[in-house]
Structure formats: C-alpha cells, structure tokens
C-alpha cells in the first residue's frame, strides 16, 4: 500500500502539450478512476505515474518517495494494459513470473506468490497454457495476475476491460471491486466507461483536454457536476440542457428563447446573479417526472417525439420549447409519439451553468 502524489506534472509530445501543471493526490488504499474521452490525457497521466514516458515538468511521488526519475520497475507498481500485453511465447505462469525472475526473486518465493495469485484470481488450471490458448477474459485475468505477483503498493489499470464483451466486462468489474476490497491496495484506473468509473471508484477524476475538471466521489460527480463538460460526459443518456435567460424577480426562473418560463425556486445558487444572465439548465432524465395532474405553476409542457422502451425503464424523447429533452419513466407508462404531456422536476436537484464559462452557478 502506498500513496501517490502527482505534483505540477507537465507532459508534452513534441510541441503538443498534453498535461500541464497537473496535481493529484491519491491516498493509501484509495481507488481512483481517471475518466474522460479519448485524447484527454488520462492514459498519458497513468503512463507518467508508471514511468513509461518522459515528463517535462513536475514530480511523481509514490509511497512518500520521489520516483520522478526512477525506472518503472523501481517504483513499486503493477500495471494492467488494455490489450493484455501478455508475452505470447510464455505460458501463463511464465507471464506471471517473468518480472520476478528478472528481478532474481528466490524460486520458492516465486512459487508462493504464484500460488497465492492463482488462487485469488482462480487461474490455477490455466497456468500451463499459452496466451493463445486462453479466452479474452482469461487473458485479462492472467494480466491482472502479472500485476498482482509483483506485490506492489500501487496498481495501475489502463482501460483493462475495454477489449472484453459486455457480459465479461460486468463480471470482471465486480471482481476487480472485490479484489480491491481484499487487497486494500492503491489503485489508479483509467477508463472512458462511466459505468466502470462510477461503480469502482472511491473518487473519480474527470479529465478533459489535459485538465482534471472535477475530482470527487462518484455520487458527487453525478449529482453536482462542477461544469457543463462533466455534466454532459457523465450520465447515460446524457443530462438535458435547456439554455435561456435567468430571471430573478420574486423567485428565480429560467426564460427560454421561445418564452417558456421554468421556475427554479429552491436551487442552491452559489452566488447572487442578476436578471438577464445567459445560463444553461441541466436536468438528468430521471429527475424529470411525468405528472398527470400537474401543479400548474411548476409544470412544463413536453411534446413527445419518440418513445424508447429499454426493458427496465423507458425513455421518452420530446421537446420543451425548442430544446430536445429525454425523460426516464417506468416501464409500465404508456405514451405515444406526438402526445403532449406535462412534466416537472425539483430545481434543488438540478444544475445550472453559466452559458459562457460553463461553470456551475
């Protein structure tokens, strides 16, 4: 177990600056997920922690030790890659033990660790097989095993489940979570899959354009995104955005371009805003409720354009004014295309962002 501290990290490829002045503190035993779209720098950050690329500025500390210029093997890390990266000409056991053999670990110690790892990951029967004779899920287990036998303080995962099919991904995700609870090791996990991020992480770092946009617990990320990017990136289907002008009379409200007024009373504004400020209201699909006998004031007219039954629930697509919105309803609700219904939501649970800066108000 070890903490990881990234201080003022800067990485660039040629003239392209990927990370600049990045700080991140990971506590001992914490599971941190770096979440972001392709090219946001999350893998670069992980590789920098692993020592697999040259950094331009800043420091990396692992376990209270400055490892900025240490070789990957001396950093006390184990790493799992997206493409498994198993050595194809070695058996699973050979893959597990390669690092230990290179480091000159005693034979009985190697054997002890292999037995322990195989037990933990249930790969005992696979040890004599070559990677080509393993299925995708088995390969990834062996790859995880290769990281575990190092008995390092920090485990780094670079999109480890992305190459697996959906069912296996769910299975291995649960196993990874259990593994973390068993081992209690520090883990840094890179993914673009928000479900993985929200389910696995103690804290999620949402990254965009080389900057950590928000670092918080999954629930906080989901419920109180700090800016429009985080709000739009996390959540599926995506958060509904309705832009308009803020009206602050007796009670705050949003006036959309076509004149619809949406009441916002109860929203915890961080600061006082004047009327006329251009803002974007963000409401998650499940926060909008269908409301037959609407309390007239808060109800919004929604014109349905599409109904998507998804099994566990249904998704209604429609328009409020000119903005397209989606509403998640129970599977038993029956609606038809073209129907006009009334909906409402709790402003206190919504998010409001400045239209220009995208920051949460």
């Amino acid at each position: 177990m070890a903490s990881v501290s990234i201080r003022k990290l800067g990485v660039s490829f040629g003239s392209l600056s990927v990370l600049r002045d990045l700080d991140l503190e990971v506590a001992e035993g914490e599971f941190i997920v770096l979440l972001g779209p392709s090219g946001c720098g999350k893998s670069t950050l992980l590789n920098a922690v692993a020592g697999l690329l040259d950094i331009d500025a800043g420091q990396v500390w692992i376990g209270g030790k400055n490892v900025t210029w240490e070789e990957p093997k001396d950093r006390g890390i184990g790493m799992v890659f997206q493409s498994y990266a198993l050595y194809p000409r070695m058996t699973a056991e050979g893959n597990l033990t390669f690092g230990l053999r290179v480091a000159g670990v005693a034979k009985d110690e190697i054997a002890r660790r292999v037995v322990r790892t195989a037990e933990l990951l249930q790969i005992g029967p696979l040890l004599k097989r070559r990677p080509a004779e393993l299925s995708g899920g088995q390969r990834q287990r062996v790859a995880i095993g290769r990281a575990l036998v190092r008995e390092a303080g920090v485990f780094l995962f670079d999109e480890p489940l992305s190459n697996l099919d959906a069912k296996l991904r769910t299975e291995l995700r649960v196993e990874l979570k259990k593994l973390h609870m068993t081992l209690g090791s520090t883990m840094i996990y890179v993914t673009h899959d928000q479900i993985e991020a929200l389910t696995l992480a103690d804290r999620v770092a949402v990254m965009h354009q080389g900057v950590i946009q928000q670092l918080a617990a999954p629930k906080e990320i989901y419920q109180r995104p700090v800016n429009r990017f985080v709000a739009g990136f996390v959540g599926s289907p995506a958060m509904n955005f309705i832009s308009g002008e803020l009206v602050v009379d007796s009670a705050p409200a949003l006036r959309t371009q076509d004149g619809t007024t949406i009441p916002l009373s109860g929203y915890p504004f961080a600061e006082q805003s004047a009327s006329g400020r251009q803002v974007v209201l963000g409401v998650r699909p499940e926060q909008i409720h269908f409301d037959a006998h609407a309390q007239a004031a808060a109800a919004l007219p929604l014109k349905l354009t599409l109904v998507e039954p998804m099994g566990a629930d249904s998704l209604l697509w429609g328009t409020i004014g000119e903005e397209q919105v989606s509403v998640r309803v129970g599977p038993d609700e029956t609606h038809e295309h073209g129907e006009k219904i009334k909906v409402h939501f709790q402003p206190a649970a919504a998010s409001i962002f400045d239209a220009k800066t995208g920051e949460r108000l």
Partner: protein, 313 residues
C-alpha cells in the same frame, strides 16, 4: 386481395426454381475450362517451360559423357548416364593451377555465409528493435541514413572499403568478407525487423519495462521468441544473397577464401584445354543447390513471414 394472389403465385412458381437450384448444386461446377482459364494455364505452362528447359538441359548435359555432348543433340536424354562429371566438378576440376574441384569453394562459402548471416541478422534485429521501441533522439535520422545505405550502388563504396580494410590490416581475409556482408545486409534487415516490431503492440514492451526487463532482457526474452517468422525471412534473404555473391567475394575475401561462386567462374572460364561442358553444368548446379534447397524447404515459411506483419501476438 392482390397481395394474396401474388403470394400464391409465388408459392406455385416457387417449386420450379427450387428444383432448378437443387439440380445446379448437384451438377458439375460451372465452366471449369473457360477460354480465360485455358489462357491462364497456357501462360503458366509456357512460363514454367521457359525456366525449366535450361535446367533440363543443364541436368541432362551434366550426366552425359563428352563424346555424346559433341554429337550436339542438346535435348536428348543421355544414352549412358555418367556421374563422373559431378565427381569431377566436386573434386577434380581445375581452377587455375589447383585441381581440387568445387569442394574447397563450397567450404569457403559455408565459412563466409554462416557467420555473415548470423551476425547481420543479430545486428539487424537489434537495430530494428531499438528503432521501433526505444525512440531515442535522432532515431528517425539514423533510420533514414541506414535506409539510404540500401540505395548506394556497391561500386561507389568498394574502393574506399578496400583502402579502409588495408589500413586496418585485414584486407583479403575471411574477417574482411564477413564484415562486408554484415554491413551490406544491415539496411534491408533493419528495415525488415523494424517494420515487424512496429507491428507489435507497444504495450508488450511497456509490460516488459514494468516487469523490470531492460534493453537486452526485453529483447532476448520477449522480442526474439516472437521473431521466428520474420527471422526465417531474414535467413532466406541473407543466405541466398551471400551465397550467390560474386563481386564482394572476389574482391574482399582473398584467394584462399574465394567462395564457391568465384571458383565456379574460374572453372567455367578456364581457357586452356578442352571445355568440359558436362563438368561445368554439374558445377553450376552444385553451386546453385544451396539457395534452391533453402527455397524449397522454407517457401511456406517465407510467405508466412511476409504476411507476419498482420499477425498479432
């Protein structure tokens, strides 16, 4: 109504096409011998004959006695098969003053080829590995210069090389010719291995680094075991190239080390005495035998290796 009718029509009519289809499936394959096919086979046969007729003439001539050859029936099979020309070619044919046949040349060629092939492949693969995984400063420039080497005409560098080796005191030695072959094999082998390694996932290399394997351990334990297909291609290219080499052999190896090709030339081009066509033919076939065998044995691997870029570990 109309839809129902047409549906019934379809069903009624459907019986016939289905029968036709079954008959087609059972019948002969369509158009086995179209004019196009005949053309293709004709071309292939002519091409094969074009290359095989000289070989045929070589083989039959090498098995004839000199009196029979003098009759001039080039295509006739030997009336009396004689292996004496082959024995002469291997053991007794004269190159200049020495009359030991091709066997010393064969041994020389082996002594030149084996170390040259091993050395050049070793260096080429290390080059390729370093260039594709250890992207140090100037790697691309170095690679560019190396590739440029592949396009320099040999004649341009021969004289400077002679002077250089003379200064070093190793001109006209076995060492000298091996160094020359190793150097000239480097550009193509580096290119071959670099492209092969560039096709491997970079994560494999990263995994080895995290496992603590350095430059050499990654190379020998991870990369070399994966390089079998491309190495077979490299062996074929190098063995064939070095075995068939004449120019470097005659210039750099020195008289006692002359490879088989040079000695073959000396046997065939002897100006004194009778021209022993049967011995010459046998000697030529013997010299060409090694690359031929290599091709026959490893042709399958050769194709595999060429396609190996598409194979993922």
């Amino acid at each position: 109504m109309s839809t129902v009718v047409s549906g019934a029509d379809m069903r009624a009519a459907g019986a016939k096409p289905r029968e036709d289809a079954r008959r087609d499936a059972e019948g002969p394959k369509p158009e086995r011998l179209s004019p196009g096919r005949i053309g293709i086979y004709a071309f292939l046969v002519v091409s094969a004959l074009f290359f095989l007729i000289p070989l045929y003439i070589m083989v039959v001539t090498s098995l004839k006695t000199m009196p029979e050859i003098r009759l001039g029936h080039l295509f006739n099979l030997p009336s009396e098969v004689s292996l004496q020309p082959w024995i002469d070619a291997w053991l007794h044919a004269c190159t200049g003053r020495d009359c030991f046949g091709l066997s010393p040349g064969f041994m020389n060629s082996v002594k030149i080829t084996v170390p040259s092939v091993i050395l050049s492949i070793l260096i080429g693969s290390i080059n390729g590995y370093a260039l594709s995984f250890w992207r140090y400063k100037g790697a691309n420039l170095l690679f560019g210069i190396l590739l440029f080497g592949a396009f320099v005409p040999y004649q341009v560098v021969i004289y400077p090389l002679i002077i250089g080796f003379r200064v070093m005191g190793i001109y006209s030695t076995m060492t000298c010719i091996i160094i020359v072959h190793t150097i000239f094999g480097m550009p193509i082998l580096t290119l071959l291995y670099r492209n092969f390694y560039a096709g491997l996932p970079i994560e494999l290399f990263k995994a080895a680094r995290v496992d603590g394997a350095g430059f050499w351990k990654t190379f020998f334990y991870v990369m070399v075991p994966m390089s079998v297909p491309i190495t077979i291609v490299a062996i074929i290219i190098q063995v064939t190239g070095i075995w068939n080499d004449f120019l470097f052999g005659i210039i750099f190896s020195g008289r006692p080390n002359w490879p088989m090709t040079v000695q073959l030339n000396n046997i065939v081009n002897t100006t004194t005495g009778v021209r022993e066509y049967n011995v010459n033919m046998a000697a030529t076939i013997l010299t060409a035998a090694v690359p031929l065998v290599i091709y026959f044995v490893s042709g399958r691997w050769f194709v595999r290796g060429i396609a190996a870029g598409a194979v993922k570990g």
